[in-house]
């Protein structure tokens, strides 16, 4: 347990210090959201309607952008080999790393959402709905994305390959995240149904993600 806590503390520290680059994700999120009105036009009513979708797409792309860092730095300096050979089960270590990554790179996206909601003319309840769905949904993005990150690091290929592999897997999270936010704002459906399915997707990813990532690391690093 102490080993896992130490791993989480270390990962968060590295991510937040100079060169860690966790907050670049938030900056990217902000930039993508600011770009949208330039493409769509400054029509506030339209932006209100598209707001949840824009925020979700931005968060998805931002979390994809930072995923590359989940394993590569540790692989480069050799600490990943130590983690793989250590006595802590690799599945748990992967889960701890993903949790630390989410705390450093995913949670800031959720915290930034209210500010970006203002830019997109979302009212308080809509912003709260989007922030809540992001709070529940971004862990799923991190934990499924971790599979892609683990594959990429064992193959020494990051970047585009990672994006191509991970994006199709995140479609369900996107669908239910946007659906829950829309339902809270205007939709005929209740907020509860898509929201609980979103929670379920996150829980499933907590199981599948660490096991698949650990299997990929164990088979790939030799």
């Amino acid at each position: 347990m102490t080993a896992l806590a130490a791993l989480i503390r270390r990962d968060i520290k590295i991510a937040l210090r100079v060169g860690g680059g966790a907050l670049i994700g938030v900056l990217f999120f902000l930039t993508v959201t600011v770009l949208m009105p330039f493409a769509i036009g400054p029509d506030l009513a339209l932006l209100t309607r598209l707001g949840p979708a824009i925020l979700w797409l931005g968060a998805l792309l931002a979390s994809l952008l930072t995923l590359d860092r989940l394993f590569t730095a540790d692989h480069d300096d050799g600490s990943l080999d130590l983690i793989v050979m250590g006595r802590t089960p690799l599945e748990l270590a992967c889960a701890a790393k993903a949790l630390a990554h989410w705390l450093a790179a995913g949670l800031p996206l959720v915290i930034a959402t209210p500010v970006l909601g203002l830019l997109l003319n979302l009212d308080a309840s809509a912003t709260a709905a989007v922030a809540l769905t992001l709070l529940v949904g971004t862990p799923a993005l991190t934990f499924t994305g971790m599979i892609g990150a683990a594959l990429a690091v064992t193959l020494h290929r990051g970047g585009l390959l990672l994006a191509v592999l991970v994006l199709p897997l995140s479609i369900p999270v996107l669908i239910f995240g946007v659906a829950a936010s829309q339902a809270a704002i205007s939709g005929p459906l209740s907020f509860g149904t898509p929201f609980s399915i979103l929670c379920a997707l996150s829980l499933v990813s907590f199981v599948i993600g660490p096991f698949a990532a650990a299997a990929s690391l164990r088979h790939g690093l030799d």
Partner: protein
Amino acid sequence: MTLLDLANPTKFLSLTARVLPWLAGATAIVLLIGLYQSAMAPDDYQQRATVKIMFIHVPNAWLSMFVWGVMSLSALGTLVWRHPLADVAAKAAAPIGAAFTFLALVTGSLWGKPMWGTYWEWDARLTSVLILFLMYLGLIALWRAVDDPSRAARAAAILTLVGALNLPIIKFSVDWWNTLHQPASVMRMGGPSLDKAFLIPLLVMAVGFSLLFVTLHLAAMRNEILRRRVRALQMMQASKPAA
């Protein structure tokens, strides 16, 4: 002859060399019968002759999913039993599966134009097949990104299994998304049950296309084994000290 005997690539090559001509012949015969029957099938009273696209479209769509199943079994073979031919089977199946999926999409779109008035409809089935196609392409990209086949094999096996777990979830969420967006869908599959005049040619075509897949798959596996031998020989040649 068990699965383990086939672990020896040389035995596999000699066995498939004997089997392949027969398989190819059977494929050609069944496909010809199926095509003849499809051509002779009566026109639908509503869809007229376009209903015959179904005889190509449905077998392709069914194979698009079946091939992912074959790859998942091969992935288990790679990861669990380390069967030496499993990753060859998985690698050979991916482009064939992508081709079947692509054909299903293209024929579906050609069928959609006269029936629904549009080539593309964000219908639940079409969308999930399109995502399946994207996942095939991602898998092929993964195979092509790495030069060491055994390293690529394990990564691809994990991705295939994750995909197999995820595909039902994706299918479910796309269905849900679709009913949310357009309650009255243009597509009514499985509504009226198929008449025997259509069902028999369809089944024959399904068998024909499945045989086609087995034939192509075995041939592609042979090619892959030979390609690996050539690669091994080239590596040996390159690492030999200059005399």
